[in-house]
Each structure stands twice: as structure tokens, then as C-alpha cells.
Amino acid sequence: KSESKAEPKSESSDSSAEGYVTPLVRRLAKNEGVDLADVKGTGVGGRIRKQDVVDAAGASKSQTES
């Protein structure tokens, strides 16, 4: 039996004050090169949702294009 004594990880706590993103959002952000710290969440309690990341990715793309 492995006694994993790891402290609660706060890997995602830098992403928003609310501190919770779903794995799907995190993975999407990684794939799109979006830094979650720069994303404003529109979900319940400021939670970052998929659409927020899609929008952020779109915005940065059109920025680099112009």
C-alpha cells in the first residue's frame, strides 16, 4: 500500500482567484498556449470555462495576425 503523503496540490491555484478549473479547460489552455492567469472567467463565481479559453485563444491569434 502506498502512503502518499503529498500535500494538497495547488497546481491550478495560479489560474484564478477562484482556483478551480476543470481538466478540460486546463488541457485546452495548454494546447492553445493560453495562460489561465490572464483569462477572466465568466462561469459561476468567476470560474473559467471552455468558452473563455476559446475566446482568449481567438483574441491572441487575431492580435498576432494584425
Partner: protein, 457 residues
């Protein structure tokens, strides 16, 4: 066949899981499709693979439950298994699915072409003298049991013949302790056959995580299944009243019949593949990671492509190629991320890295694991099963492997698949309390333990 069209956007050779999935998805994108099949639509999986074996394994489960029902307060007299009847039940299931699939292909307007096809140019396949053209060609000719030249007979058989038996053999030797070997060994044991498995590699189900292997071997032993691992066989021959298997170390085993389940080879010979410049390696078709053969617009999918031989990998690849042809740039799902279930008793499920594989990839000190014992899981106790859920995580990172063993545990593979494919961290899962009392709860408990805060345990 007079008014059968002869030119298609997509021409698929082989109507098994992989081929028909490519066909169905292609028509969904408005492409015209020809699907060539020389035997029965549905291929190995439907007629001689996944579906019939799982029907047998369900009868096996019922027989086991009947034997043990007394302690659950259910009174009955178990009188044995009628193999001919089991076969009949299996045939009924297969017939129903076959009808459904044939109807579906017709309804979706896939042009089914009956006969054996031969690739005769970069965009043509010939069937019974007629040439069919495909702007894109998809090869999906599947696999068949390897026999290493063994003298197949009434007593030395492959899985295909095993599914047609109308009697319960008193004893059987199963050559090969992989998925197919273990599934038959399990079913036959439940039916009352005395089974011995011969596996050349050091353990049964050698691709699984070591903790799973240990648990399977322990439970198989308890079930009275004998196995000899670590030595390859040398000779198999019929005797007067059965079969005799001799191992490389001279040890011998005798039984009434012998099932040869030592792997499956690609069915690619004689169909003109190499003549058209396609690369074969030990019979398998070599493609790039997007399943293109490097020749014309020819793709290959399913069991003929080296890797996992699973029906849903065939679906996955069939759909992938259809999307690729439609120009949708589909996402590659690597074999490591494909869910696997072995339907023996106890069942095994897994997706992602085993502990040793993860240690090799990420470094031993970067990995953390947890094993949740099903003894702590209420529903498993109710079902009377032991077993475990094992999760393999990268420290401070995602869960990269989920493995399980126990009665009915195969159904947990869906959640496991999402966890691994969506790169979930232990806390992502651990914060979602799972429904009580399910076996599914054990997934939550394992994640909580990996997160450092087990609930029960």
C-alpha cells in the same frame, strides 16, 4: 449487381469493425462509399470475437453465481451447463447484431460489395473481375489466429472453433495466457472444464500492470485454474484420447482438447498490397501516425496496423481516417490512451501507463501510485468480489494510468478513460464524491488516496 456504382469517394476493403466504421463516418460527411467484404459484415469481432466470447462469459458468470447462490439466500439446484444451449444463445445474440449492422449500413447508403477484393492499382480494387475505383482507399482486412504451423484438428483448435463446441470438454490446455487465452480459460472453468494455461512469458496477461497480474494469478489459482508460465511450448500433438503439449524444458501436459491462443497475425497476403508499393512488416501494414500508407490515397486501419488489436481501436481508426479524408484534421488517439478490458473472471480494465512504463517515461521519483483494495468497497463486498483499483500519477501532475481488477470492474473503464485522456489531476477527481454504494466509488477512493486524503482506507 448491374446497377451497382463502381466509383466511390472512399473504397473500403474489409467490413469488420474498422472498415465499417470508416464507411459509416464517410457517408455522414456526404461521401460515396463502397465497402468490400468477402465473408460476413461485422468481421471477427461480431462473428468470432468480442460478441460471441462475451456471450459465453455471461453464461459462465451465471453458472458461477448459481454455484454460490446459497449463501445469498437464493435456493436452487445447479445442474450444469449445456454447451449446445450456450452456443444457441450466442448465435441468437450474433444474429441480432448482424441484422442490426446490415440494416444500418443499408439505411446509411453504404454500397456493400460482396467478394474478395484485390488491390490492383493505387485507386482500384478488383472483385470477381470487376474493378472498383476509390478516390481514397482504406485497407481493413483484419487478423486471424496465429498457429505457428500447429496441426489443427478436432482437438487442437483456435478460438473460432472453440465457439462452436457443443459439449463441455472435461479438460483443456490453453496455449497462451493473453487476453483471449484467459477469457476462454475463465469461461471453461466456470462451465466445469479443468483448465491448464501455458504461457511462455513470465506471467499471465503480461501487458498489464504487475499489481493486476499478481491479483489475477492469485484469483485464477483460487478458482482452480492451473498455469505454467515462463516456458514456451515445443510441440503439440494429438494422442489417442486427447492432446499432449510438450514444453521446451521437456515438461508435458495432457488434456482432452487444446486451444491455440498465441496471438493474431494480419490478413494481408495475396491481396496485392505489396505489389502497389505498400510496406508490410511481418504481415502488418506500416503507416505514418496519420494511418497513411505512403502510397497514393491509401490508408490502413484496424488489426492490420501494428499495435493494440481491439475492436474499438478499429472504430477509432476508421473514424479517424474518414475525418482525415473529409479534411477535418482529427485528433490522434495513441494506443496508450485506448481503454482495454479483459472479460475473464475477475475482469481487468486499464488505460494509460502501467507503473513500470510510467517510471520509465517520467522517472521513478516522479511517479506516485495508489492501490485501493476493493475489500473496502461496499458494493464489491455485496457482489462477493475482491480486487483493486490502481492509479499511477505524475507527482504534482496528472493521473497517467488507471488499472482495475475484480468482478464486473470492466465497466469502470469509461471514467478511467476520461481521467487519463483529459489529463485529470488527482484532486480533480477526488473533490467529486462518487455514488454510494457502487463499485464506481472505488475510483473516487483511489483518487482521494492519490491526492493524499483517503476517505475509507
Amino acid at each position: 449487381m448491374a446497377d451497382q456504382p463502381q466509383e466511390f469517394d472512399v473504397l473500403v476493403l474489409g467490413g469488420g469493425s474498422a472498415g465499417y466504421a470508416a464507411a459509416l463516418r464517410s457517408v455522414q460527411h456526404g461521401l460515396t462509399v463502397g465497402l468490400i467484404e468477402k465473408d460476413k459484415l461485422g468481421g471477427t469481432c461480431l462473428h468470432w470475437g468480442c460478441i460471441p466470447t462475451k456471450a459465453y462469459l455471461h453464461s459462465a458468470e451465471l453458472a458461477d453465481e448459481a454455484r454460490n447462490s446459497e449463501k445469498y439466500g437464493v435456493k436452487m439446484n445447479f445442474e450444469g451447463v449445456d454447451m449446445a444451449k450456450v452456443r444457441e444463445y450466442k448465435d441468437g445474440i450474433v444474429a441480432g447484431k448482424y441484422k442490426g449492422l446490415s440494416g444500418l449500413l443499408k439505411m446509411r447508403k453504404v454500397n456493400v460489395i460482396s467478394g474478395e477484393g484485390k488491390l490492383v492499382s493505387e485507386n482500384e480494387i478488383e472483385v470477381d473481375g470487376t474493378r472498383y475505383t476509390g478516390k481514397n482507399i482504406v485497407l481493413a482486412t483484419g487478423s486471424t489466429s496465429k498457429t505457428f504451423g500447429l496441426p489443427l484438428s478436432k482437438k487442437i483448435i483456435t478460438s473460432t472453433e472453440a465457439l462452436e463446441l457443443d459439449y463441455t470438454p472435461k479438460s483443456a490446455i490453453v496455449l497462451g495466457g493473453g487476453v483471449i487465452g484467459c477469457e476462454f480459460a475463465s469461461a471453461w472453468t466456470s462451465f466445469g472444464t479443468e483448465v491448464t494455461i501455458i504461457e511462455g512469458l513470465p506471467s499471465l496477461v503480461p501487458n498489464e500492470d504487475p499489481s493486476i497480474v499478481k491479483q489475477l494469478e492469485r484469483t485464477f489459482k483460487k478458482r482452480g485454474i492451473t498455469f505454467n508460465t515462463g516456458t514456451f511450448f515445443n510441440e503439440v500433438k494429438e494422442t489417442e484420447d486427447g492432446v499432449k503439449v510438450t514444453l521446451e524444458d521437456g515438461k508435458t501436459f495432457e488434456a482432452e482438447i487444446c486451444l491455440v491462443a498465441v496471438g493474431r497475425g494480419a490478413v494481408t497476403e495475396g491481396f496485392g498490397f505489396e505489389d502497389q508499393g505498400i510496406t508490410l512488416d511481418r504481415g502488418f501494414v506500416i503507416t505514418d501516425e496519420r494511418l497513411h500508407t505512403g502510397v497514393g490515397n491509401i490508408y490502413a486501419i484496424g488489426d492490420i496496423v501494428p499495435g493494440l488489436q481491439l475492436a474499438h481501436r478499429g472504430y477509432q481508426q476508421g473514424i479517424f481516417v474518414a475525418e482525415e479524408i473529409a479534411g477535418n484534421n482529427p485528433m490522434i488517439v495513441e494506443d496508450i490512451n485506448i481503454p482495454k478490458v479483459t472479460y475473464c473472471e475477475p475482469e481487468i480494465m486499464s488505460v494509460g501507463y502501467t507503473q513500470p512504463a510510467a517510471e520509465e517515461k517520467y522517472g521513478k521519483d516522479q511517479i506516485e501510485i495508489t492501490e485501493y483494495n476493493l475489500a473496502g468497497n461496499g458494493k464489491s463486498s455485496i457482489l462477493g468480489t475482491g480486487g483493486l483499483i490502481k492509479m499511477v500519477g505524475v507527482k504534482g501532475g496528472p493521473i497517467v494510468g488507471v488499472h482495475g481488477i475484480g468482478t464486473r470492474i470492466g465497466e469502470q473503464v469509461g471514467e478511467a478513460q476520461l481521467i487519463v485522456n483529459w489529463e485529470a489531476y488527482p484532486e480533480d477527481v477526488a473533490t467529486l464524491l462518487h455514488a454510494h454504494p457502487t463499485q464506481n466509488e472505488a475510483m473516487g477512493e483511489a483518487a482521494m488516496a492519490l491526492f493524499g486524503h483517503p476517505l475509507h482506507g
